[in-house]
């Protein structure tokens, strides 16, 4: 006796037409959930160059101070006065004791302003700093 298979003649197929949609959904999800903090830099500056530079591994710890060619100082999104730095940085240090202050200072600046900022940072007890530089080739 011979049994004839009734089913299974056709190859079963998983419908794959909607797979790209699933992937696109993934892309969209990641695009929407990723937030990138972008600062609006209001001062004009060119960083100095150095050879022995290192990367800051943990970006969350970093807060920035910009000093432009005209000597204006920016912290976060605002232009600030020299003496405001103490308060701002003190607050930042309370939120995050391991804060690294990255100094983005124009290469043509005088050391006077750098010294002044460093003195303010010492007062605020934000002692870990980083002189932001470009890679010298």
């Amino acid at each position: 006796m011979k049994f004839q298979k009734k089913f299974g003649q056709m190859k079963p197929r998983v419908p794959t037409a909607s797979l790209p949609d699933v992937i696109f959904q993934l892309i969209l999800f990641f695009m929407v959930t990723t937030t990138i903090k972008v600062y609006d830099v209001k001062v004009r500056y060119i960083l100095p160059e150095a050879k022995a530079i290192e990367k800051i591994e943990n970006k969350r710890l970093v807060s920035y101070i910009w000093v432009g060619r005209d000597g204006r100082i920016q912290v976060d999104d605002n232009i600030v006065q020299l003496d405001d730095i103490v308060d701002i940085m003190y607050r930042k240090r309370q939120e995050n004791p391991n804060v690294i202050v990255s100094l983005r200072i124009d290469r043509e600046s005088r050391m006077g302003i750098v010294i002044d900022i460093q003195q303010r940072l010492r007062k605020a007890d934000a002692l870990r700093i980083n002189y932001s530089t470009l890679q010298k080739l």
């Binding site: 797979l19 992937i23 892309i27 970006k59 200072i105 043509e108 050391m111 003195q119 002692l127 700093i129």
Partner: protein, 168 residues
């Protein structure tokens, strides 16, 4: 009567569409670079009022002075910037407890200061490299994290920023 051919439904193979989408995703993942902050790290000394003065022997300090004209003086003697690396290296080899103190004038150019700091860092990097080659027989960057910490502890970076004369 003509025999009508049976129509086969035309189909675009869509199985590989997902792969294309993945490829797109991977491309953007790789091509996106967040601007990584690079620079020279340093730890400032605590505020002058809060800590008592620690006495350090004069012989343990190398004084680097960068004056307003951009000239560098090491312990009172004029030195060119490319010389700093070797000179400091030799000094640290002679005295591992050496502290390098940097002092600048208010009028000193910032990029000159960075150049000097860079040379110092290079000197310390060279020493660490030599130490790791000596002890582990490997380059510093090939060591694992614990070993790197070990080397860092053996050759600490002792750069001190001198107290400015007057504060505005």
């Amino acid at each position: 009567m003509l025999k009508r051919r049976q129509r086969v439904e035309a189909e675009i193979p869509s199985a590989s569409m997902a792969d294309i989408a993945f490829e797109l995703m991977i491309f953007f993942l790789v091509a996106t670079t967040f601007d990584v902050d690079t620079g020279i790290g340093l730890v400032l000394p605590p505020a002058a009022e809060t800590t008592e003065q620690v006495k350090v022997k004069q012989s343990d300090i190398a004084k680097l002075l960068v004056n307003a004209a951009g000239e560098v003086l090491l312990d009172g003697e004029l030195i060119t910037i490319p010389q700093i690396r070797e000179t400091i290296k030799n000094k640290i080899k002679q005295n591992p407890k050496l502290i390098v103190s940097i002092k600048t004038d208010r009028e000193t150019n910032y990029s000159r200061y960075i150049e000097v700091l860079d040379e110092l860092k290079l000197a310390y990097n060279d020493l660490r490299e030599e130490y790791s080659l000596r002890t582990y027989g490997k380059s510093f960057k090939d060591l694992n994290r614990d070993q790197q910490e070990e080397v860092k502890k053996a050759i600490p970076i002792r750069i001190s920023i001198a107290e400015p004369e007057e504060v505005k």
